[in-house]
C-alpha cells in the first residue's frame, strides 16, 4: 500500500485513489479527420514500460480530482505529482532515480543471481 500525494489534498493512502492509465494521451480534436490506424492508436494503444511512467490518477474517495504522476513501475516509487494543466516534467529530472529494488536489472524481473 503506497502513499500518494494528491496535489490538492496532500499525502493519502493508495486505497483512496484509482489509476487512470497513461497520461498525456490527448483526445484528437477532429476524430473524423484521422485515419483508421491513427484513431486505433489513440483508442487501443498505450505504453507499459518498466521504469519511468507518466500516468493519471484520480482521488476517487477524496476530492475526486484528476492529476498526473510520474511513477517508477519497477520500484513503485511515485517520483512526482502534478496537476492536469501543468507541463509534463522532463525525463531527465528522474535520471538519478532509475534504480530498481534488490539491484535487479532494469529490464525483465527476478533474482539477479538467478538471471545470470
Amino acid at each position: 500500500m503506497i502513499l500518494i500525494k494528491c496535489p490538492y489534498c496532500g499525502e493519502r493512502d493508495q486505497s483512496e485513489f484509482a489509476n487512470g492509465g497513461e497520461a498525456h494521451v490527448i483526445r484528437p480534436k477532429n476524430p473524423e479527420s484521422l485515419s483508421d490506424k491513427d484513431w486505433g492508436e489513440y483508442v487501443f494503444y498505450r505504453n507499459n514500460p518498466k521504469g519511468i511512467f507518466y500516468e493519471r490518477w484520480v482521488h476517487t474517495h477524496g476530492c475526486k480530482k484528476w492529476f498526473n504522476a510520474v511513477r517508477n513501475t519497477s520500484t513503485d516509487q511515485i517520483l512526482k505529482v502534478y496537476k492536469v494543466n501543468e507541463k509534463r516534467p522532463d525525463l531527465s529530472e528522474f535520471q538519478n532515480t532509475l534504480k530498481s529494488p534488490s539491484g535487479e536489472p532494469s529490464v525483465g524481473s527476478g533474482n539477479f543471481a538467478v538471471k545470470k
Binding site: L3, G20, P31, W39, K64, W66, V84, A113
Partner: protein
C-alpha cells in the same frame, strides 16, 4: 525425562488442564502448547505433510515446521503453531493429518512407498488421461496430503488499527530495547513491537548474557521497560508479530488479544495494525538452522537454542540427558545451563577441530566427564516414533549412544525476511556463513544479530552509530557474557549417510517433506536455477517458508553446482512473515458489513407485501411479489405481466441513477457525451439516449430530460450510475476543462415510480385530479413539474413496458405516502406492484434492450438497429469515430433479432447457442458453426409462447429464416424463426395514444 527449572519467572504457578487428542494434561498458565506437552513428556505431536512420518516439536518459536495442531475449542482453528500458542484452562487440541490416530496412521504407508514419491512426483505421475486430474487425482491428493481441517463457521470480531509514527522498532530483545532507550523522552513518536508477551528476547531466552551495566538481565529488562512505559512518546505492543513490510514504510502487524486466555467471542480476538512510519528499525534477531542427517526429523530432535529457550523462558527442561550436536561456539550457554541445573548431557559432538573449540567448553566437558567428540558429526538417529539411539561418526569410527533427545545447532541466520520484503539487498558473510542485510531500499536500519553482528561487545557502538541520524543521546551498554564473544563456526550442512538405501532420509525441508536427495535429483533433471528448484521440489514453500532450512538448501545446491552460495542467490522472501488468519484481514467487513445495502423509501412496504428481493449493485430491489405463500416465481411473474398489460402495474424505480447536469455549456457537453442530438430538442421533453465508450461500444443508456440548454437530468442504469458520473467528471476535468458544467448525483434525492398499463391514465387522474393527463396536454416523452401537497413532484410520460406509462419523481420523504395513495386509488383498476423480473419480461416483449444483457461491451447501437439514436450531423461525440472503423461496420457482426419457436410449446433458454443443426452429433469431430446466442428468453403470457432476443451474426438480413437453438441436457435442438424483436405493439400505438 523432562525436568523443571524453578528459576523461571515467566511461568505462573497456577495450574491449568488441557486436552491433547482426548487425553488431559497438567500445564501452567503461560505455557505454550509445546512447552506444556514437553512438560508431560509428549514428544510425538503430528504427522508430516507427504510421507505421514511421526513428527515432534523442533523449535520454540515462529519458525516451527512440524508441531502444527488444531484447536478444537477455538472454532476448530487449524495449523496453529504449538510453539507460539498459549494454553488456558480447558483448551482442546488435536493433532493433524493422521487417521485413525496419531500413533497408528494409515497414511504412513506413503513412507514405505516413499521411493516413488520423489521430487516432481505429482508433475510426472498425474498427467492423464483428460479429466482425471479434476475428478480423481486432485480430490485424492487433497485428502491424503495436507494439514488441518478447515475451521467451523464463526463470526470474527477482529479489528483494524492504524498508526502513523516516526520510528517503528521491530523486536524488543537486547538491541531493540537498547534502541528504544535512546528514544526515551524525545520528540520522536515510537512504536516498539514484540512478538512475545515479555520483553527481553535473547536475555530471557538464554543465559548468554551474565550482566548488563552491573544488573542481571532480568533487572535490566524491568528497569528499561519501566523507563519506556514512563516515556510518553513510546508505545509498546506485545503479543504482536510484524508480518509484512510494504513499500513506503508500511508495516502490517498482527496482535493476539487473547494470548494465554480463552477467547471471548464477544470481543475482538485479533487486531491487525496497519502502520505507516518514517523509519523502521529491524531488531528481530536471528533464527537457528538445523543440519541434515539421517532421520533428522524423528521426534526428539530439537534445535539447541530452542531447547535452551524452553528452560529459561518456560521453565521446562525437555530432557535431562540430551546429546548436543553443533558446528559453532554458541552451544556453550546450553551446556552451562544444563550443568547449573544438575543435568548432564550424554555426549557433546562438535564438527570443529579440537584446537578450534573454545577452552571453556573443553574444560566443562573434562570436569563433568561428558563424552566429547570433536571433528565429529551425527550420522543419523533411529527409533520407533522417537529418538532412541544416536550414531556418531568420528573419522572412520562409529559410536552408538542411547538418548531420547538430540540438540542440534547448525549456526544462525540473521532474520532477514522483513528486510528483504522491504526490497533491501543482502550479501553473503563468510564469518557467520549466512546472508546478512546490505543496502536498504527504504529508510530501514537493522541492528544486532539481524544485521549480522553476532558480537555483544560491538552492539553498543553499532546502535550509537546507526541511530546517529536521530537527535538522541548515546546509550552505554556494559555487557558481561557467559559465552565467548567471538562467534566461531565451521561449515557443515549435511552429514553422510553410512548405508545408502532408498528409504534412508535426510530432510532439508521438514514442513513439505523434502529430502536432500530430492534436491540432487532435481538438479540432475535440469532444475539448476534456485527459483525453479524451489518450485519443483516444493523446498521452503511451506507455511514456515523454510526459516530453519532455506540457507542450508542454498548451500547444498551450491556445492552440487560447484558455485559460491552468493552466486546461487536466494529465493524471494514474500509476505507474510508467518501465516495470518483471514479473519484478521477481513476485520469487521463481514456479513452485512461486507458491502453497504441500499434501500429505497418504499422498502418497508415491499417487505409487508411479500416482495422477494434481488441485488442490483448495492440496491435491494423487489424481484417479484408473492400473491400467496405457494406462488412460484414463474407464476408470480406471469401473473404480474398479464395483469399489467390488461390493467396497470407500478414499479419502484427509485434505484435508477439520476445525474443533474447544469451550467453554461451543458448542451455542448451532453452532445459530446451521448450519441443523440440534443440541440433541436424542445425544453421539458425527454429522450432515450445512449452513452458509448471511445471504442464505439455501448456503455450505458437512460432517459435524458432537457429542462433548458443549461440544465439536463440524465437517468442511468441502477448499477451504472457511479461509473457514468465518474466518466462524465473525467472528461470534464481532463479533456474539456474549458466547458463550464457542473454535475451532481441526485439518485437519492428522489423516489421514482414507474406506473404503466392501459388503465394508468384513469388512475393518475384519480391521484392527481388537478392535472390534465390527456394525450394532447401531456404527450409521450414530455415532463412537467407540479405542486403536490406541501412538496413538488415531477411527472414524465415514459414507459419501459410498451404500455401507456408515467414516471413520478418525488422527495423520498413523501415517497411512501404517495405510493400508498396511488394504491388506494388504483385498487378498483386492479393495480398491482411488480418487480424487476416482470419488468424484464415486459421490455423483452417490446424488444427493448437491457445494458449487460443484450450488450456485453462488444455491441454498438448499429448492432441493435438503433441508428436513429445516432446524431449523424454532430461533429463529434464519444465513440463516433469508432462507429466507422472497418470492424464496427462489418456486415457479419452480431446483431439484435427476435426469436419465435416454430413449435409454440418449446422453451427458448437464455444463454443458449444458435446453430444450423437440428440435432447435435453424438461425437463432435469438427467445431459446430456458431451463429450467436440467446441474450434474453422468457415465456410471454401475452403471446402465450416462449420468446427470445438474440445476438446473431448478420442477423439483420436473416428475418424469416429458420435456425436452431440448443437446449440444456438435450441433443435435439429447438427450431426457431428469426423475427422482428418487437413482439408487442410494433407501431407504438399504446405508447403514444
Amino acid at each position: 525425562m523432562s525436568a523443571i527449572n524453578n528459576n523461571c519467572k515467566y511461568i505462573s504457578k497456577k495450574q491449568v488442564k488441557i486436552t491433547f487428542d482426548g487425553n488431559t494434561y497438567q500445564a501452567y498458565e503461560g505455557d505454550t502448547i509445546a512447552s506444556a506437552l514437553l512438560r508431560n513428556n509428549i514428544r510425538l505431536v503430528g504427522r508430516s505433510f507427504k510421507y505421514h512420518r511421526p513428527r515432534g516439536i523442533y523449535t520454540c518459536g515462529i519458525e516451527e515446521p512440524n508441531a502444527l495442531v488444531q484447536i478444537i475449542s477455538e472454532h476448530n482453528e487449524p495449523n496453529t503453531r504449538a510453539t507460539i500458542k498459549r494454553v488456558y484452562d480447558g483448551m482442546e487440541i488435536t493433532s493433524q493429518n493422521r487417521w485413525p490416530s496419531l500413533r497408528y496412521d494409515f497414511g504412513a504407508i506413503n513412507n514405505i512407498l516413499s521411493p516413488i514419491f520423489s521430487a516432481g512426483f505429482y508433475y510426472k505421475t498425474f498427467m492423464g488421461p483428460k479429466g482425471f486430474w479434476k475428478n480423481l487425482y486432485e480430490p485424492l491428493i487433497r485428502r491424503s496430503a495436507g494439514l488441518g481441517k478447515p475451521p467451523k463457521n464463526f463470526r470474527s470480531k477482529s479489528t483494524h488499527q492504524y498508526h502513523n509514527t516516526d520510528v517503528v522498532i521491530i523486536g524488543a530483545g537486547l538491541s531493540g530495547l537498547a534502541a528504544a532507550k535512546k528514544f526515551i523522552n524525545t520528540k520522536y513518536k515510537v512504536l516498539l513491537i514484540e512478538q512475545d508477551s515479555y520483553l527481553g528476547g535473547v536475555l530471557k531466552n538464554s543465559n548468554k548474557v551474565k550482566t548488563i551495566n552491573g544488573l542481571t538481565p532480568q533487572e535490566w529488562i524491568s528497569e528499561t521497560e519501566e523507563s519506556i512505559l514512563n516515556s510518553k512518546n513510546i508505545t509498546i505492543l506485545k503479543n504482536t508479530l510484524v508480518t509484512t513490510y510494504n513499500f513506503t514504510n508500511h508495516l502490517i502487524a498482527l496482535e493476539d488479544k487473547f494470548a494465554g486466555k480463552k477467547i471471548d467471542l464477544n470481543k475482538s480476538e485479533l487486531t491487525l495494525h496497519k502502520i505507516r512510519t518514517s523509519n523502521t528499525i529491524i531488531a528481530n534477531g536471528h533464527i537457528e538452522r538445523f543440519i541434515s542427517f539421517r532421520n533428522n526429523d524423528l521426534p526428539g530432535v530439537m534445535l539447541a537454542s530452542s531447547f535452551e529457550k524452553y528452560i529459561h523462558r518456560y521453565g521446562v527442561v525437555p530432557e535431562k540427558e540430551p546429546v548436543i550436536f553443533t558446528n559453532n561456539s554458541s552451544s556453550l550457554s546450553l551446556l552451562k545451563t544444563l550443568i547449573n541445573l544438575g543435568c548432564k548431557p550424554k555426549a557433546y559432538v562438535d564438527s570443529r577441530k579440537k584446537d578450534n573449540i573454545e577452552t571453556e567448553i573443553k574444560k566443562i566437558l573434562k570436569d563433568k566427564e561428558i563424552p566429547f567428540f570433536s571433528d565429529a558429526e551425527i550420522e543419523g538417529c533411529d527409533g520407533n516414533k522417537k529418538v532412541e539411539t544416536i550414531t556418531i561418526r568420528q573419522g572412520k569410527s562409529f559410536d552408538k549412544i542411547k538418548s531420547s533427545m538430540l540438540c542440534v545447532s547448525g549456526g544462525y541466520n540473521p532474520d532477514i525476511h522483513l528486510f528483504t520484503q522491504s526490497k533491501g539487498l543482502v550479501k553473503w558473510d563468510k564469518n557467520i556463513l549466512s546472508f546478512k542485510p546490505d543496502t536498504p531500499f527504504q529508510k530501514t536500519i537493522t541492528l544486532g544479530s539481524t544485521s549480522g553482528n553476532y558480537s555483544f561487545k560491538k552492539l553498543c557502538d553499532e546502535i550509537n552509530e546507526k541511530l546517529s541520524i536521530f537527535k538522541t543521546k548515546k546509550v552505554s551498554l556494559d555487557i558481561n557474557l557467559n559465552v565467548p564473544n567471538k562467534f566461531s563456526i565451521k561449515e557443515l550442512w549435511e552429514t553422510k549417510i553410512k548405508n545408502k538405501s532408498n528409504w534412508a532420509k535426510s530432510f532439508i525441508d521438514l514442513h513439505n517433506d523434502v529430502t536432500t536427495k530430492d534436491l540432487k535429483q532435481a538438479i540432475t533433471e535440469g532444475f539448476d536455477r534456485i527459483e525453479h528448484l524451489k518450485r519443483y521440489t516444493t523446498n521452503s514453500m511451506g507455511t514456515d517458508q523454510g526459516k530453519i532450512s532455506s540457507i542450508n538448501s542454498l548451500a547444498i545446491v551450491s556445492k552440487i553446482l560447484k558455485k559460491e552460495i552468493s552466486e546461487v542467490g536466494t529465493t524471494t522472501y514474500r509476505p507474510p512473515y508467518a501465516p495470518l488468519s483471514f479473519a484478521a484481514i477481513a476485520g469487521r467487513s463481514t456479513y452485512e458489513f461486507y458491502d453497504p445495502e441500499r434501500k429505497t423509501s418504499i422498502h418497508s412496504w415491499h417487505l409487508k407485501n411479500n416482495a422477494v428481493f434481488e441485488d442490483v449493485g448495492q440496491w435491494k430491489r423487489p424481484w417479484y411479489f408473492k400473491a400467496s405463500e405457494n406462488e412460484t416465481m414463474h407464476q408470480a411473474v406471469q401473473r404480474e405481466s398479464k395483469t399489467l398489460r390488461e390493467n396497470a402495474g407500478i414499479l419502484d424505480g427509485s434505484t435508477l441513477g439520476k445525474i443533474e447536469i447544469k451550467g453554461r455549456d451543458a448542451l455542448e457537453f451532453m452532445n459530446l457525451m451521448y450519441t443523440n442530438a440534443f440541440s433541436k430538442m424542445k425544453p421539458m421533453t425527454s429522450r432515450y439516449a445512449m452513452m458509448l465508450g471511445e471504442d464505439g461500444m455501448i456503455k450505458d443508456d437512460g432517459i435524458i430530460c432537457k429542462i433548458s440548454d443549461q440544465h439536463f437530468i440524465a437517468t442511468t442504469t441502477s448499477s451504472g450510475a457511479p461509473k457514468v458520473l465518474a466518466d462524465m467528471e473525467e472528461y470534464l476535468q481532463t479533456e474539456w476543462p474549458h466547458l463550464q458544467v457542473y454535475l451532481n448525483s441526485i439518485t437519492e434525492q428522489f423516489s421514482t415510480f414507474n406506473i404503466s398499463g392501459p388503465k394508468t391514465r384513469e388512475i393518475m387522474m384519480r391521484v392527481f385530479p388537478d392535472i390534465d393527463f390527456s394525450n394532447d396536454a401531456f404527450p409521450f416523452m414530455t415532463f412537467k413539474n407540479f405542486d403536490y401537497k406541501e412538496t413538488k413532484i415531477r411527472i414524465m410520460r415514459a414507459s419501459f413496458t410498451g404500455e401507456l406509462g408515467y414516471e413520478i419523481y418525488i422527495s423520498p420523504k413523501f415517497g411512501l405516502e404517495l405510493w400508498e395513495e396511488i394504491f388506494s386509488c388504483g385498487k378498483e383498476f386492479n393495480l398491482i406492484p411488480y418487480g424487476t423480473e416482470t419488468m424484464h419480461l415486459l421490455r423483452a416483449e417490446k424488444g427493448y434492450i437491457v445494458i449487460g444483457q443484450e450488450t456485453d461491451g462488444t455491441v454498438t447501437p448499429i448492432d441493435l438497429n438503433y441508428n436513429w439514436m445516432i446524431g449523424k450531423n454532430k461533429k463529434d461525440f464519444i465513440g463516433k469515430r469508432s462507429l466507422s472503423r472497418p470492424d464496427t461496420s462489418r456486415a457479419d457482426r452480431k446483431q439484435l433479432v427476435g426469436l419465435s419457436p416454430i413449435n409454440k410449446k418449446d422453451i427458448i433458454e437464455e444463454g443458449q447457442h444458435i446453430v444450423e443443426l437440428n440435432e447435435l452429433p453424438k461425437k463432435i469431430t469438427d467445431p459446430i458453426k456458431y451463429l450467436g446466442h440467446v441474450s434474453s428468453g422468457y415465456h410471454s403470457p401475452n403471446l402465450n409462447h416462449s420468446i427470445g432476443l438474440a445476438m446473431i451474426r448478420g442477423g439483420k438480413n436473416l428475418l424469416g429464416q429458420k435456425f436452431f437453438v440448443t437446449a440444456t441436457g438435450k441433443t435435439k435442438n429447438i427450431p426457431v424463426e428469426i423475427v422482428n424483436p418487437v413482439f408487442i405493439d410494433p407501431e407504438n400505438k399504446r405508447l403514444t395514444s
